[in-house]
Point group: C2
Chain length 209, copies 2
C-alpha cells in the first residue's frame, strides 16, 4: 500500500476495513505518545515502540512525524464532525441543536481526552499544505457551531458578538482537558447540560429595539 | 548574588530594584522563546541568545531550564494575583467583584499573550517542590475566583456546580490565546464585558425552593 493512499478522502475508503481499524489504532497510540512527550519531545522511535509497527514500516506508511500529526488532526476532526451531522439529522429545535453540538463535542473528547490536549497543543506545528488542510477542517467545524448559534440568535432576536460567544463556548469545552476529573466531575450528559445552561442563558440577550 | 535569592518571597524584595527589572526582562525573553519553540524544543543556548545573558550567567543564576520555567509561572501568577487584590479593594458589589476578576485576568493576559500560552502548555512540566509550589499558587488563584462566585451565588440564592462554572469561566478566558486577534476582536474592556455578560447571565439560576 502506497503512502498516498492514506490521504484519500474518507468517503472513498470503506470505513470498516481492517486497514481503517489498524490506522485508527496506530493514530491512537501516536496520540498517546504526543500526549505524554509533546510533539517536539517525541521521536519516530517512540512512536514505533508504542504502536508496535517497525520503524521502517512507520516511515514507509507515514513518511514523517508531521504526517502522523496531520493524520491525527484529520482523524479526530473528521470523526467528531461526522457524528455531529448524524446527530443533528434528528433535531429541529434551534436551542436543542446547539445543545446537540455541545453534547457531541464533550461526549467525543471526554472519551478521547488525550486527543483533546494534542489537538490543542500542537495546533501550530503543521505547515504548508498539511497545515492549510487541517485549518480548513477546523474552520468548517467552527462554522458548523456558529451557524447553529446564529440560527438561535435569529429565533430569539438576540444581539451579541457571535465570534466571541462561539469561541467562548469552545473555550469552556476545550479547556476541560486541563481540569476534568472523571472521579469527581459529572459525565458527558450532565456536563453538557451544565455547560449548555451557562452558554444558552448567557447569550439570551434581548435586542435593543 | 546567589541563585537562592531568586526564590525569596516577593514581599521581602524591593519591587522596583534594578535587579527585579532585569529579572522580569529575562523572564519575558524566556517566555518568548518557550512560546516559539515549546519547553522541550528550547535550549539554554536559545534562552541565553534571546535574553542577552551569557550561557554561564544563565546557568549560574537560574541553574536550569526548569528553574526558568518555574520563575515564569511564579512571576505571572504572583503579578496577576497582586493586581487583583489591589483592584478588589475598591469594589463591594458581588457581581462587580466577579467582573473585576474577569477584567483583571483578561487585561493582564491579553497584554502578556505569550505567557498565556506558555503557562497553559507547560503546565505539567514542573515536578517535585517546584511543581508543588506553582500548583499551590494556581490553586490559590482559582480559589480567589471561586470565592467571588460563591459570594454571588449566595446573594442570588442560585444553585449550580461552582467548580464546573468557575472552570468554564477560566476556559472562556484562557482559550483566548488560541484565537484572539487584536485587529478584529474587542479590547480588554469590551471583551471582559461580553465574557462577563455570558458568564453572569449563565449562572443566574434561581434555586428550586
Amino acid at each position: 500500500m502506497a503512502p498516498t493512499s492514506l490521504s484519500r478522502p474518507a468517503s472513498t475508503r470503506h470505513p470498516d476495513s481492517r486497514f481503517e481499524q489498524r490506522l485508527a489504532q496506530i493514530l491512537q497510540h501516536a496520540t498517546a505518545v504526543f500526549y505524554e512527550k509533546g510533539y517536539e519531545g517525541a521521536s519516530m522511535r517512540d512512536l514505533s515502540r508504542s504502536s508496535g509497527m517497525s520503524l521502517a514500516g512507520l516511515y514507509y506508511y507515514f513518511e514523517s512525524k508531521e504526517k502522523l500529526l496531520y493524520l491525527i488532526h484529520k482523524h479526530y476532526f473528521t470523526t467528531v464532525a461526522q457524528r455531529l451531522t448524524e446527530r443533528l439529522e434528528e433535531v429541529q429545535n434551534p436551542e436543542e441543536r446547539v445543545r446537540t453540538f455541545i453534547f457531541n463535542h464533550l461526549d467525543f473528547f471526554l472519551a478521547n481526552h488525550k486527543a483533546m490536549k494534542v489537538l490543542s497543543h500542537e495546533d501550530d506545528v503543521l505547515e504548508r499544505e498539511l497545515g492549510a488542510e487541517i485549518a480548513a477542517l477546523k474552520r468548517q467545524y467552527y462554522h458548523s457551531c456558529s451557524d447553529l448559534v446564529e440560527a438561535l440568535k435569529r429565533e430569539h432576536s438576540s444581539e451579541f458578538n457571535t465570534r466571541v460567544a462561539v469561541l467562548s463556548l469552545f473555550g469552556m469545552m476545550n479547556w476541560l482537558y486541563t481540569w476534568y476529573n472523571p472521579r469527581i466531575d459529572p459525565g458527558a450528559d450532565e456536563l453538557s447540560r451544565q455547560v449548555g445552561d451557562i452558554f444558552l442563558r448567557g447569550i439570551r440577550v434581548p435586542a435593543a429595539h
